[in-house]
C-alpha cells in the first residue's frame, strides 16, 4: 500500500477516549446539581422559599445520580475510592472528585435538615457550602476535557467552561420550572431561557473560532447533537418567555431546555472522539505552529 506522506496509513496519532455515555450524562447531572445548589441559596436569600426548597431537592437528586454514573464508567469500579487517594491540582478529575464529595455531602446535609425541619443553623451552613462547591462542580468538567491532547477539546478551552456554566444554569432553572407553579418560578424561567441562549451562543462562537479543528462539529454524531442542542435550547427559550401565562408552554420549554443541555454535552463529547480519530486535526495545527515559529 502506498503512502500519502502526511500520516501513517491514515491512522490516528491520538487514542480516542475510552469514556462511555455515562460521562456526558454526568456532565449534565453534575452541572444540574451544582447550579441547583447556587440557585437554591440565591432563592433563599431573595425570599423565594418554594424555589429554594425545590432546587435543593433537584440538587440532591442530581448529586445522588452523579457518582453512580462515574463509578459505572470506571474500568475497575470496585476501586472508586482510589479517586480520593490523593489531591492533585494538575488533574481536574482529582480536584473534581473532591469537589463532588464536598458538594454531595453539603447538599445531602442541607436537604436532610430541610426535609426533617431540624437544625436551621446547620442547614444554612450546609446550603452555603453546597453553593460554594456547586459553581465549580458545574464548570470543572469543561476544564477536565480541555486538559487533554484532543484538539477540539484543548483548543476550545477558552469557551467550554462558559458553555458548561451557562448550560448548567439553564438546566437548574428548567428543572425548577418543571416542578413549581408558574407564580414561584419566574427567576427559574429567566435563568433557563437566558442560560440556554448564552450556552448556544458561546458554543457557536467557539465553533467559528476553532476553524479547522472545529470542523468535527459539522460532521457525524457531534453535528447531530449540535443541531439537536441548538433547536431544543432555542425553541425552549422561546416557549419559556410565555411561561408565566401558560403552564403548558413553561413545562414544554423547560423540558426542551433540559434536553438541549444534555444534547450539548453529548455534542462536545462526541466531537472529542471524532477529533482524536483524524490525524489531520493533530498534525496540521502543530505543523502550522512550527512554521510560524520558524518564520517568526
Amino acid at each position: 500500500m502506498s503512502h500519502d506522506g502526511s500520516s501513517y496509513y491514515g491512522r490516528p496519532i491520538l487514542k480516542e477516549p475510552v469514556w462511555k455515555p455515562e460521562v456526558p450524562c454526568y456532565f449534565f447531572t453534575g452541572g444540574l446539581a451544582g447550579a441547583s445548589s447556587v440557585l437554591s441559596l440565591a432563592a433563599r436569600l431573595t425570599g423565594n422559599e418554594r424555589l429554594a426548597k425545590t432546587s435543593l431537592y433537584v440538587g440532591l437528586a442530581a448529586e445522588v445520580a452523579s457518582p453512580a454514573l462515574l463509578i459505572s464508567d470506571l474500568g475497575r469500579p470496585e476501586r472508586f475510592l482510589n479517586m480520593l487517594r490523593v489531591l492533585k491540582p494538575t488533574s481536574p478529575m482529582s480536584v473534581g472528585s473532591w469537589v463532588l464529595v464536598a458538594s454531595g455531602g453539603a447538599t445531602t446535609t442541607a436537604a436532610a435538615c430541610e426535609l426533617l425541619g431540624v437544625a436551621p443553623r446547620l442547614k444554612a451552613a450546609a446550603e452555603l457550602a453546597s453553593a460554594v462547591a456547586g459553581a465549580p462542580l458545574a464548570v470543572y468538567t469543561a476544564t477536565l476535557v480541555s486538559n487533554t491532547a484532543v484538539p477540539v477539546w484543548h483548543e476550545g478551552r477558552r469557551e467550554l467552561p462558559f458553555v458548561f456554566a451557562a448550560a448548567s444554569a439553564a438546566s437548574a432553572g428548567a428543572a425548577a420550572t418543571l416542578l413549581l407553579s408558574p407564580r414561584d418560578a419566574a427567576p427559574a424561567r429567566r435563568l433557563a431561557a437566558a442560560g440556554a441562549l448564552v450556552a448556544e451562543a458561546v458554543a457557536a462562537g467557539m465553533r467559528r473560532r476553532l476553524g479547522l479543528v472545529g470542523e468535527v462539529y459539522d460532521r457525524g454524531p457531534a453535528a447531530r447533537f449540535d443541531r439537536l442542542a441548538k433547536t431544543a435550547s432555542l425553541s425552549g427559550a422561546v416557549l419559556l418567555a410565555r411561561g408565566r401565562e401558560q403552564r403548558v408552554a413553561a413545562v414544554a420549554g423547560a423540558a426542551l431546555v433540559l434536553g438541549g443541555g444534555l444534547a450539548r454535552r453529548f455534542s462536545v463529547f462526541r466531537a472529542g472522539f471524532q477529533s482524536a480519530r483524524d490525524p489531520r486535526y493533530t498534525v496540521e495545527p502543530q505543523r502550522a505552529r512550527l512554521e510560524a515559529a520558524s518564520a517568526g
Binding site: 487514542k15 440565591a42 479517586m83 427567576p187
Partner: protein, 283 residues
C-alpha cells in the same frame, strides 16, 4: 521531573537508520512483560500487522515504503532504478519529562520512578481512562481483554486498567537493560543515561548528514520542546507524522493554569447569572 539523587535518568535512543524491521523488540517486550496476545489482523500496510502502540503493544515497528532515494547528492535527489526506500522504526512510550498521563492521573497510579521513567502501578489504577486522551502520542490505553485475576461480581470482565511501556522497571531495578534494547540485533535501540544518549545521537545525525542521507533528523532530543524532551527519543529519516508521530507535541497541562483561571471566571459568571435571575423578582 526530579529524579532521586542516587540514580541517573535513563532512556532510549532509537536510531531508525539501522532498524532492519526484525521485530525482535516487539517479541522480547511481549515475552518479558507478559503482554497478552490481542489478535492478528491483516492490514495490508507493508510488514506491519501490529499497527500501533496500545495497552497490549509496548514496542511497535512501523514500516513505510517510499519512492524516495536513501541518499541525497547535494540538493539533488535522483530516483535511479529500483528507488524504493523502506523506512522502519521501533516506536515506544516517550517517558516525557513533562508527562501528561502522569499529570492528569487522579489516583497517583502513574508515577515517576527513580530512573526518571513513567510507570503505571497496576494495583492502584482504577481505569478512569483520563491518561488515554491526555497522551499527545496515543501511547497509553485501557486493556479490554478479560482479566484472569478478576473474581466475584467482576469475574470474566475486561481488565479495565491502563497499560504501557515501563522501560522494564523490574529489569532496571536488577541492573539490566530493557528487554527490547537487549534483543535488538543492530543497536537501533540504545539504552543508557539520557545525557550520554543525546551526545551519541548528535554525533550520529551529524555523520548521516555528512554522508548525504535523505531526511536524517533527531526527534524528541531537545529539553526545550513541548514535553520538556523525551526520555525515549529518535533518529528519523522523514517527518515525524510519516511515522505516525506528532510533529510538535505539547503537554496539555502546560496550559492548565490558564484553564483554571477560565474555569474560575465561568464559575463566577454562573453565580452572577443566578443572582441576577433571582433579584429580578417574581415577574
Amino acid at each position: 521531573m526530579s529524579t532521586t539523587e542516587t540514580q541517573q535518568r535513563v532512556g532510549f535512543f532509537t536510531d531508525t537508520s539501522v532498524c532492519i524491521g526484525c521485530k525482535a523488540c516487539e517479541v522480547a517486550c511481549k515475552e518479558w512483560n507478559l503482554v497478552p496476545e490481542d489478535g492478528l489482523l491483516w492490514t495490508g500496510e507493508s510488514y506491519d500487522n501490529t499497527s500501533e502502540l496500545g495497552a497490549n503493544t509496548w514496542r511497535h515497528v512501523a514500516f513505510i515504503e517510499q519512492e524516495a532515494p536513501l541518499r541525497i547528492d547535494g540538493d539533488h535527489a535522483e530516483l535511479a532504478g529500483d528507488a524504493l526506500r523502506w523506512l522502519m522504526s521501533s516506536d515506544v512510550c516517550k517517558h516525557c519529562t513533562h508527562a501528561a498521563c502522569l499529570d492528569v492521573c487522579p489516583t497517583g497510579a502513574l508515577f515517576r520512578t527513580e530512573f526518571g521513567t513513567v510507570v503505571v502501578q497496576e494495583d492502584v489504577c482504577n481505569g478512569c481512562g483520563y491518561c488515554v486522551p491526555a497522551c499527545p502520542f496515543g501511547v497509553i490505553d485501557r486493556r479490554e481483554l478479560p482479566a484472569p485475576d478478576r473474581s466475584g461480581p467482576f469475574a470474566g470482565q475486561p481488565d479495565g486498567r491502563v497499560w504501557k511501556c515501563t522501560l522494564c522497571y523490574d529489569r532496571l531495578k536488577g541492573g539490566h537493560e530493557p528487554a527490547c534494547a537487549k534483543a535488538c540485533p543492530t543497536q537501533s535501540i540504545q539504552f543508557g543515561p539520557l545525557d550520554e544518549l543525546r551526545e551519541r545521537a548528535a554525533a550520529r545525525v551529524e555523520k548521516l548528514r555528512d554522508e548525504g542521507w535523505n531526511g536524517a533528523r533527531l526527534y524528541g532530543e531537545r529539553p526545550d520542546d513541548g514535553v520538556g524532551g523525551f526520555g525515549a527519543f529518535f533518529l528519523l529519516l522523514d517527518e515525524p507524522e510519516v511515522y505516525g508521530l506528532p510533529p510538535d507535541p505539547v503537554v496539555t497541562t502546560r496550559d492548565l493554569p490558564g484553564m483554571w483561571r477560565t474555569a474560575a471566571l465561568a464559575a463566577g459568571a454562573l453565580v452572577a447569572g443566578v443572582v441576577a435571575a433571582c433579584v429580578g423578582g417574581a415577574r
